[in-house]
């Protein structure tokens, strides 16, 4: 058991024992190798199952909206989760007073698919250390460099530290390079129109419409999603090209000014479809036009909700943004 895991456990134990929170949302030891699962601890004695390592892939802020606002929640937050929590508080999905955020500077989430591609599926155990992931497979022990196994969204991460946690466990990490995420969008923008369409179609049309991306996303909390609505039905609900295009375009667009680039959608996708290139573009535009980044505090409204009469000076006949 790592030192960090021990710290999280004792903090969660304190919260539950002192009755400060009703539930602690964290991770527990996995049933399937390399896949620690989100867990909801209500009794201190359950905490022996609590675990934390680089393979904890879910964005736990996702579970915030499943509780009434009065529930006092203790939650494990990494940089992206903290930003998602902030964005949810802005949208009045929970009140900050009823949250206790246990912050962890995040060294990046390891993509389990990349691990399995290198080691095969016969995994007996693993250990996540600072620079290497040690995987014990049936016939061999692998020592894999951690940085190469990170999920692409984590390789581009700008804010690995929680911004507004109540307690920070572990040393704060240096901020990431903000040009990486922009460079990706810009390199896609630099492609020709045909290439962009071809890439979008190639990705979107593999979609099986399982909506795992929606379920994994903390910001997708609508009671009824536009694709589930059937009178009138807004889009095709099958896996036809038109249906999958509409899903990918509108799902991403609904995240404008709300997406915190955690990459949970891509990690959840069973078809390995890339989709952060869509939400990252919208995030970049929100920064360029409105100097807004989602989740940096829990007060500022996102641009689509914060329109003012000041827009008037940019508002010309047929004029483009700003």
């Amino acid at each position: 058991m790592s030192e960090l895991e021990q710290k999280i456990r004792s903090e969660a134990e304190r919260l539950l024992k002192e009755g400060l929170v009703d539930v602690v949302i964290a991770f527990r030891k996995e049933d399937a190798p390399l896949r620690p699962q989100p867990a909801f601890f209500t009794h201190p004695e359950d905490l022996e199952n609590l675990t934390y390592n680089g393979l904890c892939a879910n964005n736990l802020a996702n579970y915030l909206t499943r509780y009434p606002r009065e529930t006092r929640i203790g939650m494990l937050v990494r940089g992206c989760e903290n930003r998602s929590v902030n964005a949810l508080i802005v949208e009045k999905q929970h009140s900050r007073e009823n949250l206790y955020l246990i912050g962890i500077p995040c060294t990046g989430i390891i993509d389990w698919r990349k691990v399995i591609a290198l080691t095969g599926e016969d995994i007996l155990g693993y250990e996540d250390t600072d620079s290497t992931l040690i995987v014990r497979a049936r016939h061999q022990t692998f020592r894999l460099p951690r940085q190469e196994l990170l999920h692409p969204s984590c390789q581009r991460c700008v804010h690995p530290n929680p911004l507004s946690a109540d307690i920070l466990l572990g040393e704060a990490l240096p901020e990431g390079d903000p040009t990486l995420i922009r460079a990706r969008v810009e390199s896609f923008e630099a492609l020709s129109r045909e290439e962009r369409t071809a890439f979008f179609r190639q990705e979107a049309e593999r979609c099986i419409r399982c909506y795992a991306c929606r379920e994994a996303c903390p910001m997708c909390y609508c009671e009824e999603c536009f694709v589930d609505h059937n009178t009138p039905r807004w889009t095709e609900s099958g896996t036809t090209p038109a249906g999958t295009h509409a899903w990918h375009i509108i799902r991403a667009f609904h995240q404008t000014g709300r997406c915190t680039s955690c990459g949970a959608c891509e990690r959840a996708c069973p078809m390995d479809i890339q989709m952060t290139y869509l939400t990252d573009k919208l995030g970049k535009d929100m920064w360029d036009y409105y100097q807004f980044a989602a989740g940096m505090d829990d007060k500022t409204q996102p641009p689509f909700a914060a329109f003012t009469m000041d827009d008037k000076k940019h508002f010309q006949a047929g004029g483009k943004l700003s």
Binding site: R193, F307, A317
Partner: protein, 147 residues
């Protein structure tokens, strides 16, 4: 150019045409290739409506609305402008030509401008040729738009 008449979806804010002749022309004498969708305010236009028009076979989409301060519902057009303009650049990002979406923000003195804008847009679409970037969908059932 060819005499191909591009299909245009025309979203019109109910309040944006100040001259009765313009409104009368839009309501009764709109050319056959232009489909009118009247909305109470541009703020009612969900980007999904625009996408549906595009996937339903519209080669271009025109959105007409009021200038700021002139909105009948005070700020519907401000909300719409932020969303729809970002949507148009997002569509461009995935390969749909931004030039196929046009915004016409009308003012009190713009009598007759909507006819000119539609004619000009039609001309522009003829130059661009047919749109095949995004797949066409089947006509929707259960209250959705039919062909």
């Amino acid at each position: 150019m060819t005499d191909h008449k591009p299909k245009i979806a025309f979203f019109q804010c109910h309040w944006c045409l100040y001259a009765p002749e313009d409104q009368e022309w839009v309501d009764r004498r709109l050319p056959d290739n232009i489909r009118l969708i009247k909305v109470p305010c541009t703020g009612r236009i969900d980007p999904l409506f625009v996408l549906n028009a595009v996937q339903g076979g519209a080669e271009g989409v025109v959105i007409s609305g009021c200038l700021p301060e002139k909105c009948h519902y005070k700020e519907g057009n401000l909300a719409a402008r932020r969303q729809l303009q970002e949507f148009s650049s997002f569509m461009d990002y995935i390969g749909y030509d931004e030039a196929r979406l046009r915004f016409v923000w009308l003012d009190l003195q713009d009598r007759g401008r909507i006819q000119r804008e539609l004619a000009d847009f039609e001309n522009q679409l003829q130059q661009l040729g047919s749109a095949e970037a995004l797949a066409a969908r089947q006509p929707l059932e259960e209250g959705g738009a039919h062909e």
